[in-house]
Symmetry: C2
Subunit: 656 residues, 2 copies
């Protein structure tokens, strides 16, 4: 029910944003180009996906029955829809934010940007919970939700990683040729890659992140339901649904309180929304626990997850914020050149993994001691319950970024650019928090999925299989599993480099061959760059995803159920580590560069700045391509393992 | 007995090298400065170590009895001696190699460089095996060897990590100011950091690597002996000693066959030595197995380890070699700037982890299925049995590097520099192989140590404790354990940056304040730079080592024996991953730069070269500081855990 309410609230906000004026013709033109580029990307992507999903659906139907095949397709549709809606609103909100900044200043512009993000947030959680509820009501079996969940996950992997390759291809290419070679400013309309760059913000950050949390959300609720199904206590299966519903209410409340008055800091307003959501969630679920007679320990486990999520988010915030020691020290290191800048940022990125590891370790251990593996599942649910507000803050980021781009391209003047800049800067911070949060949530979800894998194996075999590290199969599995996120990151970064190379050639070609481009008298061919980004991204990605799924199945069918458990654990270990490292180091280099740009250490154009730009460029695919895809990767393989567990138990070369 | 033979052979080669002419006065002067700098580093380091070792010895005696305290001190002395001898011969061999190159060309110079390395190799394995044998003969208890082993490990950590900080501080500072800012060539005598740079090659690469393999060697033999002690079959405890002894014979044979004729490639000669050693080892141990009636499966497990080691070494070779696709592609990426160069190298570094993980996974699984955990222990012994030849090849590297430096500084002319360059280049390849090999050996040793930890716990408690991944304490331990190598790498890299910063300031100051320095009419103050490198390295390192040991004990005493097992596993996971990544990515960037320098893609001085230099600088602390220290770190904490297991079982807050 709350899911329907959430969708209604989302639609209401959509019409609010849509009703605003989109500004001058020039602005509409630019926004139109971005919108067109985004749609063209999604169209191509959905085309690829159509083929992939059909193949998967057929395979799943053949091997695991039509119920799984159907729920799989349903999951992909829900997830695709969430991404589509989020992006549609984002490309509408960006130009309206820029226009409102021109007319009403920050007070006028901020609500549009934020409510645009909120549409995405509320739609995502609404659709997710609605989908789960429908399937559960029809089948009454949490394991069919697994089909939906895996549908959502594979789609997310495409959106997230494909969008990630897209956005960084464009970003790196635009920066390297534009800023470094030709010394024209960022977001300059003469740069042929500028539209692709702005499109990238939408498809990578906005649609991708929305799908990401959608996926973790569904997976966490499903895992908790499966784990709850193992117990005698009937209500355990439904608690995840009830708590998630209350999480949506809390998110609506949290979204509603976010507003800025005169002279207010938009960053603070966004944080307030998050805190209000957390408190509301704690209070509502406590009340529900008392009213419905749930075990108080379940509530405590849920809150443990929420707290762990906040800790991880705050860690990311500290390690990436522009006014904190890590970013400043990294910026200072740029004075002795790019190499030291990179080494320093990388080191702080490594250090930032520690509190996150500790948060997950303690959070899951506490949840386990409170209520066993079901407690771990509920901790993941608790962490993700506030996803509505988190996604809202996250989707707000690219809207602000785009608004700034439009303001610059349309020449709306210094004052307007300043306001959009303020909105953009606040977005960078929330993005860092969200990323940490999303990774933490995915980490906890992956642990819950591991437990639910064990539970599924237990149901089939009638015995609890131990995953002892001293068992050579488990240990071998861990080592091989560790390799998966490692190779995936590598290949996806190489994909960005390769694709960026192609686009750099294209930009240089245009500047060389189109007369009057540098002088601003002719327009560049934006579509060519958009095209390169789109096709290249999908071309790099598809074999990678097929490889990952196949490896998982090969490990399972050849080395058996124990090795596969080790394999999943290994993927969690290296995946979580790399995800945090890449997200935080990337954010850190970005803000170190911004620190220099804001006038310190020589400011823009100095050698220090040039060194910091190199660090930022290294960080780009870390934080926006590889890092954020790893969560989803781990979720996908965990679910593939659970899904195929019955077949593996029967047919594996090395049996129990 | 073979250990004594090995030491005699080592001393014989020492006198051979020492008997060669050290060249002109200018050469002697430069070599003297390097020798002095190296000695001054070791003196300061041994001073710090004296305090640290005394404190540890007292603590161990109080908590674990005088036997452990005494063997601990004995272990540190053996390891320290091995490092000292290796470095003494290295600083003698370098100048003699340069001089021989002047007189006799490659055929004259190569044997001196290689035999200098061989002294180190043979002394290290000889001392290691002699030490183990003495202790075992006296006490008859493999667990007292643990005291010696941990003594060797802590000392190694200092040598390896301290030397690593030292060498990269000097290298980065010398390159950044010299090559980049002032455009003077590498190894130019006007550069105040040039002596420190050459000293660094000795203390970091030579003494450090020798100590590293010494440490793994002792640990592997000890772990196999402990695991063998668990069995009814009496000979199992002595097989590791017998096989290691035969490994030393094989190394002596392998070292003896290495020579170059006219027009031969020194790299090939070095590889031949390795192959001959492997074959000799296989044949000798097979014969021993038949003669002494050992189980054939033990031999097979040993060979499995040896094969895994070779596979990992060859992987490193492929991923870092100058004429292979990864290095060439990384060099090509430098055309679009430093950022893409770094991203590409990093990605290939990530990919290179996969075969290494697979090698360890399959090698240890095969060994386990052949002969249980004892098989894993013997696999580690098998891998390390050829350490004599491996160390010889490794120590050869810095001798060649130094010889080249001396040839340049003493102005011996193009032809001589070319010959030393050839010797140096072959050294770079063997270094890459050795590093892969050393990491693989340490990884397998760490697994054996984990098994011996379980065995020690079993002996005390009378029950085999399972380390189930679904146990929340084990999982929590894994997450926290993973953080240790991560934080250690970060802090040590930051230490290099900080220290390099200090030295950069000093170099700039000297060029600014010493008149005539740039023109070459006055000499720089070399000692000042040597001093900064020495003190800084130890200042950064000491707290880090204390932190690591304390964390291990805290995890053990607070969360108990199971969590500690998870912790050790976690440290193995992230430690092995980071070690391989850093070693290979670093080597790759280095050779990508060398590829450009050899005239491709614009050659020296081009923008591509500048970008490649940045990549190389990032890789320097990766491959020479953080990466190679991680093995030892993992060995240290594994052994600390085993050593304190009895106390932890009795006093831990969370019991069995």
């Amino acid at each position: 029910m709350s899911s329907v309410l959430s969708i209604i609230a989302g639609l209401f906000l959509f019409s609010y944003v849509n009703g605003k004026d989109a500004g001058t013709d020039r602005m509409k033109e630019i926004a139109g180009a971005i919108q067109e580029g985004s749609r063209s990307f999604l169209k191509t992507e959905y085309l690829y996906l159509g083929v992939f999903v059909s193949a998967m659906a057929v395979a799943l139907t053949v091997f695991l029955g039509p119920k799984i095949g159907a729920t799989y397709v349903f999951g992909t549709i829900c997830s695709g829809l969430a991404g589509l809606i989020g992006m549609e609103i984002a490309v509408k909100a960006n130009v309206r934010t820029a226009n409102a900044a021109k007319r009403g200043g920050l007070i006028g512009a901020f609500p549009i940007a934020f409510r645009g993000g909120a549409v995405m947030g509320l739609m995502v959680v609404g659709l997710a919970l609605l989908g789960i509820s429908i399937i559960y009501w029809i089948t009454g079996d949490p394991e069919t939700v697994l089909g939906m969940s895996i549908g959502a996950s594979t789609l997310t992997l495409f959106m997230k990683a494909g969008g990630g390759i897209y956005t960084k291809t464009a970003d790196i290419a635009a920066d390297l040729v534009g800023k470094v070679e030709l010394s024209i400013p960022e977001d300059d309309p003469r740069n042929p890659a500028v539209i692709a760059d702005n499109v990238g913000d939408n498809v990578g950050d906005c649609a991708g992140s929305g799908a990401d949390l959608f996926d973790s959300y569904v997976a966490a609720v499903m895992a908790a339901m499966i784990l709850g199904g193992a117990s005698q206590i009937a209500y355990q299966k439904t608690v995840p649904l009830v708590f998630s519903g209350l999480g949506i209410f809390s998110s609506i409340i949290g979204v509603a309180v976010v507003r800025v008055g005169k002279g207010d800091d938009p960053g603070k307003a966004l944080n307030l929304g998050t805190y209000v959501t957390c408190i509301a969630f704690g209070a509502l679920t406590l009340a529900a626990t008392n009213l419905l007679g749930y075990d108080m320990k379940i509530w405590l486990a849920t809150v443990a997850g929420l707290v762990a999520g906040i800790v991880i988010g705050m860690t990311s915030d500290y390690f990436t914020s522009i006014n904190r020691s890590p970013a400043i020290k990294t910026a200072e290191a740029a004075r002795t050149g790019a190499a030291i800048n990179i080494l320093t940022g990388f080191s702080y990125g490594l250090i930032s993994v520690f509190p996150a590891l500790l948060g997950i370790a303690i959070g899951s251990a506490v949840a386990f001691f409170l209520y066993g593996v079901y407690g771990v599942g509920m901790a993941a649910v608790g962490m993700l319950a506030i996803a509505g507000t988190i996604i809202a803050g996250d989707a707000y980021g690219p809207i602000g970024d785009n608004a700034k781009g439009i303001a610059e391209m349309a020449g709306l003047g210094e004052e307007v650019i300043d306001i959009t800049d303020q909105i953009d800067a606040a977005g960078n911070t929330t993005k860092a928090i969200t990323k940490g949060f999303a990774i933490g949530a995915a980490g906890l979800t992956a642990l819950a999925l591991l437990a639910s894998y064990q539970e599924i194996v237990r149901v089939i075999t009638g015995q609890t299989i131990s995953f002892d590290l001293m068992n050579p199969l488990v240990m071998m599995g861990v080592f091989i599993g560790m390799a998966i996120p490692i190779i995936f990151s590598a290949m996806i970064i190489l994909g960005v480099s390769k694709n960026a190379d192609r686009m750099i050639e294209e930009i240089r070609r245009q500047f060389r061959e189109i007369p009057g481009l540098m002088e601003g008298t002719t327009k560049p061919n934006y579509a060519a760059c958009v095209n390169i980004a789109t096709r290249g991204a999908l071309r790099e990605l598809l074999p990678l995803i097929v490889f990952t799924i196949c490896t998982t199945l090969v490990v399972g069918f050849v080395t058996g159920i124990r090795a596969l458990a080790g394999y999943l654990s290994g993927a969690i270990f290296s995946g979580f580590f790399l995800a945090i490292l890449m997200a935080n180091a990337g954010g850190l280099w970005d803000n170190a560069k911004k620190y220099v740009e804001s006038g310190f250490l020589g400011g823009k154009g100095s050698d220090t700045h040039k060194a910091a730009v190199i660090g930022d460029t290294v960080g780009d695919p870390f934080k926006d391509t590889a890092g954020p895809s790893l969560n989803t990767l781990v979720t996908v393989i965990s679910q593939i393992a659970s899904l195929f567990a019955p077949l593996i138990i029967t047919y594996a070369l090395i049996g129990l």
